[in-house]
């Protein structure tokens, strides 16, 4: 349980930080495509007897590389590059998962890959997760400023001498690592929710970058911990002694948080209606 909380918290925090930039750059689709590549990677890893998380990470990095090469950074090429990679990866994943279920003795391989396996993480993978997690955070910290500038405007960044392609590639690497790691907790299908959900909620609530990151991390880590606790508790619900999947709880909490993030704006709007028109205009700004 402690391992689940520790790893889950770390991974969720990283995912939220990277997710803020993903939403900023409008690459949510790309983030999602990478989770599908991770599916192929994880299921492929299982086939050859390796830990899925290795496959998640390697798959994600390779997928990011391919997307880079095809041209995900150019605005026109972005959807195409993403879609192509997504399609190919999902096809591979289908093959690997089928082979997994027919050749492997353990059942539930697809469940593990697709929906997470935080409770059955081998203790040997824990140090790798921590190391990769720290590397991802370090990457983001390193390119924070030029990444922010080039996410706002490619033109301005290039005019200032920022190596936009390199910065973008480093970001993609961080994204791939983050997606790979969070697939461990929530599985690949729901990894997007942990990537995009907390930042989406945070961006509705605050106007500043550092606060957005803080709120996103809060929501992501909080949802993960709450989800883990609820999943533990769900063993005691109902007649059969089966718990519900952790990833479901995590995503459910994230969704509730997103809905809740719309409330402050609503309250501000209602306050504005009661105020004078001039004040209402200022409040709306």
């Amino acid at each position: 349980m402690q391992v689940a909380l520790l790893l889950g918290g770390l991974v969720a925090g990283i995912s939220s930080v990277v997710g803020v930039f993903t939403v900023l750059r409008g690459q949510s689709f790309g983030g999602h495509a990478l989770t599908d590549v991770s599916t192929a990677g994880g299921s492929g890893a299982l086939l050859i007897g390796m830990a899925p998380v290795a496959g998640f990470v390697v798959g994600g990095v390779v997928g990011a590389g391919v997307m880079e090469a095809i041209g995900v950074q150019r605005p026109r090429g972005r959807d195409l590059a993403t879609g192509i990679v997504l399609g190919a990866a999902t096809g591979l994943a289908a093959l690997f998962l089928y082979l997994d279920s027919t050749t492997s003795a353990t059942t539930g391989a697809s469940q593990q890959i697709l929906f997470g396996s935080i409770f059955v993480v081998a203790s040997s993978t824990v140090p790798y997760v921590i190391v990769f997690g720290v590397v991802t955070l370090a990457l983001i910290c390193l390119v924070y400023r030029p990444l922010l500038l080039s996410s706002l405007s490619n033109d301005i960044a290039r005019a200032r001498g920022v190596p936009v392609r390199v910065v973008g590639a480093l970001y993609m690497l961080a994204l791939a690592l983050s997606v790979g790691l969070s697939s461990l907790v929530t599985g690949t299908i729901l990894s997007t929710a942990l990537l995009i959900g907390p930042p989406a909620a945070a961006l509705r609530v605050t106007r500043r970058m550092n606060r957005a990151i803080a709120v996103a991390v809060l929501v992501g880590v909080g949802a993960t911990w709450l989800g883990v606790l609820l999943a533990y508790d769900s063993y005691y619900w109902g007649a059969s002694q089966n718990g519900w999947p952790v990833s479901f709880f995590i995503v459910a909490v994230v969704f509730v948080a997103y809905l809740a993030s719309g409330l402050p704006a609503r309250w501000a709007g209602r306050k504005a209606e009661r105020a004078t028109p001039a004040q209402a205009e200022n409040a709306a700004r």
Binding site: V20, V23, L24, G26, C141, L142, V143, Y144, R145, P146, L148, L149, L152, S153, D155, I156, A157, R158, A159, R160, G161, V162, A202, L203, T206, R207, R208, M209, R211, A212, R285
Partner: protein, 330 residues
């Protein structure tokens, strides 16, 4: 000394912003020098306003930018043909040309984003290097996404160090500098609003502040008046004119209509058919000069202080090819 454009003080920053490659010792020295000198990009000026020249072999230190015989071919078409002109500090210059005339291409050459097929770009008398901090750039497309978690003042702050690695550290000096800049462009009213929720004119001001805060000597604006209503456009022109005169910055902006700019432009660079003519408006906007650019006969009409350029075939068979109030291109 507080920056106050309308009072015409020299802009003497209270802080110095160290370059990334400087040692701590030279940083301290620069901080001390800032007390007496006005730091300006790659060069330093003494308080009497004369730029220091760096060597005998350079071209005149007076120009901020000089283009010499720039040719650009793209996809088999010649976009720019032997374009040459110079820009001096404190001058407000307009780059006039219809859409597709090559204005953005020219800007990209100046910014170093596009290598010309031939010709040279001189910045401050030196050949353009990969990174030149002497140029501030305001691009054409505004930041439209209302979700971006940046306030106007955050965007301006990014202009100080957005190109450096790492996370920005908040400091009082930084905040004070940003405040000064916002005051200078009259953006204090919406300094804390989300960038994506500002109107077109307000976004322009913030982008101008962002470009100006690093104290460039040349301010490049790509069609700043497009998508602005007349009133906002006039305010932006007035602001840029003030900036040019009081900050001694060369302002170079592109537009496809020259009439709004005629009252304030010192010089004009007229781009047509890939060729450019530069000089004052009186020198350039003339039938003979423009006719040579276009390669066919044109007429220049002056109507109530406005200029109308009409393409004609010279055989009495005049044809108004468009009804834009300022400029007609074949």
């Amino acid at each position: 000394m507080r920056l106050s454009l309308s009072l015409g003080f020299d802009y003497a920053p209270r802080t110095s912003w160290p370059r990334s490659s400087e040692s701590a010792l030279s940083r301290v020295r620069r901080w001390q020098e800032d007390r007496n000198l006005v730091v300006a990009g790659d060069r330093e000026r003494h308080t009497d306003g004369e730029p220091m020249s760096r060597g005998a072999g350079e071209l005149g230190a007076k120009e901020v930018l000089r283009l010499d015989g720039i040719d650009v071919w793209l996809s088999g078409r010649q976009i720019l043909d032997a374009v040459s002109f110079e820009l001096r500090p404190g001058e407000f210059t307009g780059l006039i040309g219809s859409n597709g005339a090559g204005k953005t291409t020219l800007f990209r050459v100046i910014l170093g984003l596009l290598r010309p097929n031939s010709g040279t770009v001189f910045i401050d008398g030196r050949v353009r290097e990969r990174r030149s901090r002497a140029i501030g750039y305001v691009p054409q497309k505004a930041l439209l996404d209302p979700d971006i978690p940046l306030r106007a003042r955050d965007l301006v702050a990014l202009g100080i160090d957005g190109h450096r690695l790492g996370i920005p550290l908040r400091s009082r000096k930084r905040t004070a500098l940003v405040d000064e800049m916002l005051h200078a462009v009259d953006a204090e009213r919406f300094a804390n609003a989300r960038v994506g929720q500002l109107s077109g004119g307000e976004q322009q001001r913030v982008l101008i502040a962002h470009a100006l805060i690093s104290q460039p000597r040349l301010l490049l604006l790509d069609e700043p008046l497009a998508n602005l209503d007349i009133r906002s456009g006039q305010e932006i022109i007035a602001l840029l004119h003030r900036i040019a005169k009081e900050q001694d910055v060369a302002v170079f902006l592109s537009a496809h209509e020259m009439n709004p700019l005629l009252p304030v432009m010192d010089r004009i660079v007229y781009l047509a058919a890939g060729r450019a003519a530069s000089g004052t408006a009186e020198e350039v906007v003339r039938a003979d000069v423009l006719g040579k650019l276009y390669g066919h006969h044109v007429d220049v009409l002056h109507v109530h202080g406005r200029v109308l350029v009409v393409a004609g075939h010279g055989s009495g068979d005049e044809e108004v090819l468009a009804t834009s109030p300022s400029l007609v291109v074949s």
